[in-house]
Subunit: 179 residues, 2 copies
Amino acid sequence: MGVEKYPEALEFILHWGEMGTHWGANRSVAQVHALLYLSDQPLDAEAICEALDLARSNVSTALKELQGYGIVRRTHIPGDRRDHFTAETELWDLFMAITAERKRREIDPTIAKLGELKDRMAANKDLPAHVRERIGRMHEFIANLTGWYEQVRGLKKSTLIALMKLGAKVARFIPGSKD
Amino acid sequence: MGVEKYPEALEFILHWGEMGTHWGANRSVAQVHALLYLSDQPLDAEAICEALDLARSNVSTALKELQGYGIVRRTHIPGDRRDHFTAETELWDLFMAITAERKRREIDPTIAKLGELKDRMAANKDLPAHVRERIGRMHEFIANLTGWYEQVRGLKKSTLIALMKLGAKVARFIPGSKD
DNA sequence: TAATCATTTCGATTTTTACAGAAATTACGA
DNA sequence: TCGTAATTTCTGTAAAAATCGAAATGATTA
């Protein structure tokens, strides 16, 4: 029996769908993800359609999107011609995959644009100084934040988890931080 | 003269507007924010309308939204009846305000929902174990991440900046991390 | 307190996005 | 290689969100 028949599971799927619309996905994509996340066996597209009452084409698009994020993968079931799909269940990996892809789609283009503007501003002499300064600072800020993210994301999972557990106590290692 | 007349400033505003639509705001909100961010003087609503070619009502709504995020404030100009508005220019504060508000709107309700489901699942004996387990782990994961965020966000700005500069080198303080 | 100016709220319109269903393509097996 | 099953792409429609303009509300000062 499909997990969507259990009220708590269904509510999870519906809530995930709603939140997904605020997190840069659409309802269908988030619902499909939630269903696969709760399922302990790979599901084929048709089963997803029936569970969520979505059109086949819609599910196809959603699956492609989720695979683009790297959080759903195709798995082959021997003796079955249809594709089956499984979601990432390791939440740390899920989180990392989503942040990486969102950065790529939403942050990188902005850094590139601001970099381009910075170059052009250098040549434009009658641009007010404060405009140059503010666009420049924004570029620097986002680039710094992103650079930090790239470094930290490269750390071992166990290190990251240890850092999380440390919480605000990391401040101890910053000389003179006192907070 | 309004900054929007300078091509680089205008491009910044337009790009910010487009990206805003991916970041949970609408185009108008993000454009108004960008304009105010680049302006070195407070602007009144009418000036914003003209600069961005937006309806007065639309600008009113956008300003309310930005004030809700705590990244735009009303400033009074002596001898002028109209409200004037200024954007946060300290980028660290801007970033902190946005993350705090998005957490409040988008994460907290999910934690609450998952907590509620967890309670109900405890009572529902015929729910498959793996469903209980996965919803429970999701709740725990998001709550942990959020708890970490709350702790770190409470640190002094100078401490946070020092931690950023440290980058991946924080790992040194985790015994046996070796990465 | 009346008149004017500023702001917000509301309803209508436009634009954008999501979604369904049909058509086309691809993969597979007989 | 032909036929069938599976998947994707395309096109139109429906739903949702953004935006406008008008009307209502609120504020200021003459």
